[in-house]
Assembly symmetry: C2
Homo-oligomer: 113 residues x 2
């Protein structure tokens, strides 16, 4: 079986703690990142936790982006799963790194399929 | 920073092709797997593609499960992300492996945070 998709794991450390806890900002950043796929957004769900943190997922055809934030640690775990050639996941990753003011991001890529 | 969560990547190969294309079955399998976390399901979204394939995500607090299926290849890519100790992601993985009749599954675990 040939490679079907790729997945990026973003370990976003030393990010802006206030931004990581800002529901509207996290959501809009994720939507912006998903839109560069050029594909329809099938669904999105975002939740704000008390006292801290946001969980969010954006689903696009045979792909998704997810984020879980720990503002108290300045940390967010992001996944970008994509199949097909129209979606440039590293561009989406860079949108999130910039938007969340992450000063120690790392990106790991794995092949799926 | 200590480890915050773990993530399992399931490469599910040689699965039952009809089950991978059965929307209701994929959805109920994912919901069953999520429920063993004992946590509230915040959201779920599932989509059937034409002619083949299902994409689905279940969001639980600071955790999620995702699946993308390629029935024509007998393949599904599953992620299980979990933070905290109440969720046993390998149990969730085994539910999906059994439910989708996967004869060549592999599980890779990575630490997050």
């Amino acid at each position: 079986m040939n490679q079907i998709g790729i997945q990026l794991f973003l370990e976003l450390k030393v990010c802006d703690k206030k931004l990581l806890d800002n529901f509207d900002h996290v959501k809009s950043s994720m939507i912006s990142a998903a839109k560069i796929s050029g594909q329809e957004i099938l669904a999105e769900s975002f939740y704000k936790f008390s006292p801290l943190g946001v969980t969010g997922i954006v689903s696009i055809p045979k792909s998704h982006l997810s984020i879980h934030t720990w503002p108290e640690l300045g940390y967010a775990a992001v996944d970008i799963f994509t199949a097909g050639e129209s979606f440039y996941p590293k561009d989406a990753a860079n949108i999130l790194i910039d938007s969340l003011s992450c000063n120690d991001p790392s990106i790991t890529e794995i092949k799926r399929g």
